[in-house]
């Protein structure tokens, strides 16, 4: 069977899905991509058993055939060929011959029926949103996901869809990030799933800042996102996300408004001399003034002072400065609102313009 296409038609989709192919695989066949050749296009699938990506490339083929080819080698060959060259792929019994100009490559193929591709299943929930919206929700929260926590349900991002709202929540037990957006959803949809860390990071790269829609299908085992020709499927974390609503403080009597950039820079400076492991910084709020204090085991000290909008009584509280800086990084407004009650209660960090993004940070005992 013979398949003919342009080098660039093949290279772009291959590079798009190539990232999924791991360098060190548990199964040899995972180093390959699955190719379903049809008369006018190829569908290319790559998986690492956790996430799967599928895309297609326009070709002319004189038959229909499913086979697998080594991903990395195929990408390297296509990339090394001159631009706009024509590629001819001939598939025989257990060999594939790739010809272009005066180059000729013979590649080993593995049978397509051995490839552990995800079978299409009936999705129980379906909705579509703009890529931009979903990307924004992920960007605003993903940093708070836990890493290799034994509470495996924290090693991912909660995606909650229902009552006209899409929400993402991530927490590692010390801080929590939650972001939501209202949008037109199909009637009656109400679903909560935990996307694994790897899928979240991959999606952050994949989604673009455009208005085009992404189709989301959620089944009991998988979530599938379709963007144009490319589809991305991931397994889910099989667990129950903690009740995050209870963690977000509601009763606080102290509200601080500060300039976001000024606060961030002050924190960054002070953090230099904080304990490298715990990164604790002492915050002293007095009327109109915030004093930051840090010291490390070598008895070195940093002190910083800035003006803030605060009218409550004096409060001294400790925070891990890394958590605060990460939250400030994703706040869009020029000023930031901190809501506090006492030195043992968590702090709510928010945008001053919208209530959609909330960051909760637990205090430290210093």
């Amino acid at each position: 069977m013979k398949i003919v296409t342009q080098r660039d038609n093949l290279l772009k989709p291959l590079q798009q899905i190539g990232g999924v192919v791991e360098r060190r695989q548990t199964l040899p066949i995972l180093a390959n991509v699955l190719i379903n050749a049809r008369t006018d296009q190829l569908t290319i699938t790559a998986t690492d058993l956790e996430v799967e990506m599928k895309t297609s490339a326009p070709v002319t083929s004189d038959g229909e055939l499913d086979f697998t080819l080594p991903a990395r080698k195929l990408i390297d060959i296509c990339r090394a060929l001159p631009e706009n060259s024509e590629i001819q792929l001939t598939v025989e019994k257990d060999r594939a011959v790739l010809k272009s100009g005066r180059s000729r490559f013979t590649l080993g193929i593995l049978p397509a029926q051995d490839y552990p591709a995800i079978e299409p299943t009936v999705s129980s929930h379906h909705f579509s949103v703009s890529q931009k919206l979903l990307k924004n929700l992920i960007d605003k929260t993903h940093f708070a996901m836990a890493q290799q926590d034994v509470r495996y349900y924290l090693n991912g991002l909660l995606l909650e869809v229902g009552s006209g709202i899409i929400r993402t929540v991530a927490t590692d037990g010390h801080r929590l990030a939650s972001s939501e957006e209202a949008c037109d959803l199909e009637e009656g949809i109400d679903v909560q799933v935990i996307l694994p860390r790897k899928a979240v990071l991959e999606l952050g790269r994949l989604l673009e800042d455009v208005e085009e829609k992404v189709e989301v299908d959620i089944s009991s085992n998988h979530v599938r996102l379709k963007m144009g020709e490319t589809s991305f499927t991931s397994k889910l974390i099989d667990g129950k996300f903690p009740d995050y609503q209870r963690v977000i403080p509601k009763n606080f009597d102290k509200t601080v408004i500060a300039d976001r950039d000024e606060l961030k820079q002050a924190l960054q400076r002070t953090s230099i001399l904080s304990n490298e492991k715990y990164r604790g910084i002492r915050f002293q709020f007095t009327q109109g003034r915030l004093q930051l204090l840090a010291h490390n085991p070598e008895q070195e000290e940093a002190e910083e002072e800035m003006e803030i909008d605060y009218k409550g009584e004096e409060l001294t509280i400790g925070f891990n400065v890394g958590y605060l800086i990460e939250a400030l990084n994703v706040i869009d407004s020029s000023s930031v609102k901190l809501s506090l009650s006492d030195a043992n209660s968590s702090c709510l960090v928010q945008d001053t313009k919208t209530d959609n993004n909330r960051y909760v940070i637990m205090p430290m005992r210093l």
Binding site: D114, P116, N221, I237
Partner: protein, 346 residues
């Protein structure tokens, strides 16, 4: 051939006759929807525990298992299983035989274990040999072993359950495998070995039918009688124990030590009841009888103790050459006391 190689060769292993009882019990658990999430298959080597484990895995993953509970071998899941690429099946074993299963391997598995299965059904994981997990690996498995996500089956296989931490053992349902009774074993073995003596083979293999069968393939039996010749010569001080040790060091050590302990046990039996028929090496009776006359009972026990100690150190870092030299030099000294009967031995 190991169970895994068999699965790779495109076969789902069959069960042996002595597996049936355990298999039935498991099927009842499945039927009653009371399948445990962790099984510990224990019992001596050579009973096909690994095949049993793979058969359970195949059966749990199969879309439409046959009436006897075995995987159908036809469905898409069985195809992937045979190809060794089933996404919901994982096998953990040491990177090299004899090495430990490391914590990274277990951590990587427990991270993935929290994910949903690809096919929507069971996820099956086999850890073999489970006792190869070092203590940190075993500890990192505890949390998952205690409370895996739904529809997960972990199968731990070991012939040395005492080497597993009690915390691991107590979290698994134990499925013990025992040496089959003589009739079951000979019925299975006899048709496969032609004219050879099934009883002798079974005794040499400590009752394990698979090991008995393995003895008939290759030159194990020839090696055994050559080694016995040499052992007798060493006892008779007709050859140099150090050079014999060097030669023996090229052989399979566990098997060699097993044979030696068989001779010693037979010698002790002959010492107690000179006319006994109950011997492991019943084909070597006359030679052993002659030997028995030449050695004191106490010395035999001492040597057997030493041998059992040596057997326990197998698989450790101990220098096997020195171990053999030690054993053979001790053998020479026990013989010395009755040096006058030399001529009757060989």
């Amino acid at each position: 051939m190991s169970a895994e190689k068999e699965a790779e060769a495109g076969k789902i292993p069959e069960l042996y006759p002595w597996h049936q009882e355990n298999w039935l019990r498991l099927r009842q658990s499945i039927a009653a929807d009371r399948m445990p999430h962790a099984l510990l298959l224990t019992g001596p080597d050579g009973l096909g525990k690994a095949q049993f484990g793979v058969a359970i895995a195949a059966s749990m993953l199969c879309t439409s298992p046959a009436d006897d509970g075995m995987a159908c071998g036809q469905c898409k899941n069985c195809h992937l299983f045979r190809a060794g690429t089933h996404p919901d099946y994982r096998r953990i074993e040491p990177e090299e035989p004899g090495k430990a299963i490391r914590i990274d391997t277990i951590r990587e598995f427990t991270a993935k274990e929290a994910l949903t299965s690809q096919g929507g059904g069971y996820k099956v994981i086999i850890i073999e040999p489970a006792d190869a997990m070092n203590s940190s690996a075993a500890n990192s498995l505890l949390k998952t072993l205690e409370e895996p996500v739904a529809r997960t089956l972990m199968v731990l296989i070991t012939s040395k359950p005492v080497r597993l931490p009690a915390t691991i053992r107590s979290r698994c349902q134990k499925i013990p495998f025992t040496v089959p009774d003589h009739k079951t074993a000979t019925d299975w073995l006899a048709p496969q070995i032609g004219q050879q003596d099934a009883t002798l083979l079974l005794r040499l293999a400590s009752g394990s039918p698979l090991q008995a069968l393995a003895l008939t393939q290759g030159d194990a039996l020839k090696v055994r009688s050559a080694v016995l010749d040499e052992f007798c010569k060493v006892l008779a001080r007709k050859t140099d124990p150090v050079s014999v040790a060097a030669r023996w060091n090229t052989l399979q050590l566990p098997q060699l030590l097993g044979w030696m302990s068989g001779w010693l046990i037979d010698l002790i039996r002959l010492k107690m009841v000179p006319a006994t028929e109950n011997l492991i090496n019943r084909d070597q009776k006359e030679r052993l009888q002659a030997l028995a006359l030449a050695i004191e009972l106490k010395a035999l026990y001492a040597l057997l103790d030493k041998l059992l100690d040596a057997t326990r150190t197998l698989g450790s870092q101990l220098n096997s050459h020195m171990l053999l030299e030690d054993l053979l030099l001790t053998s020479v000294t026990i013989k010395q006391r009755n040096a006058r009967v030399d001529s009757r031995i060989v």
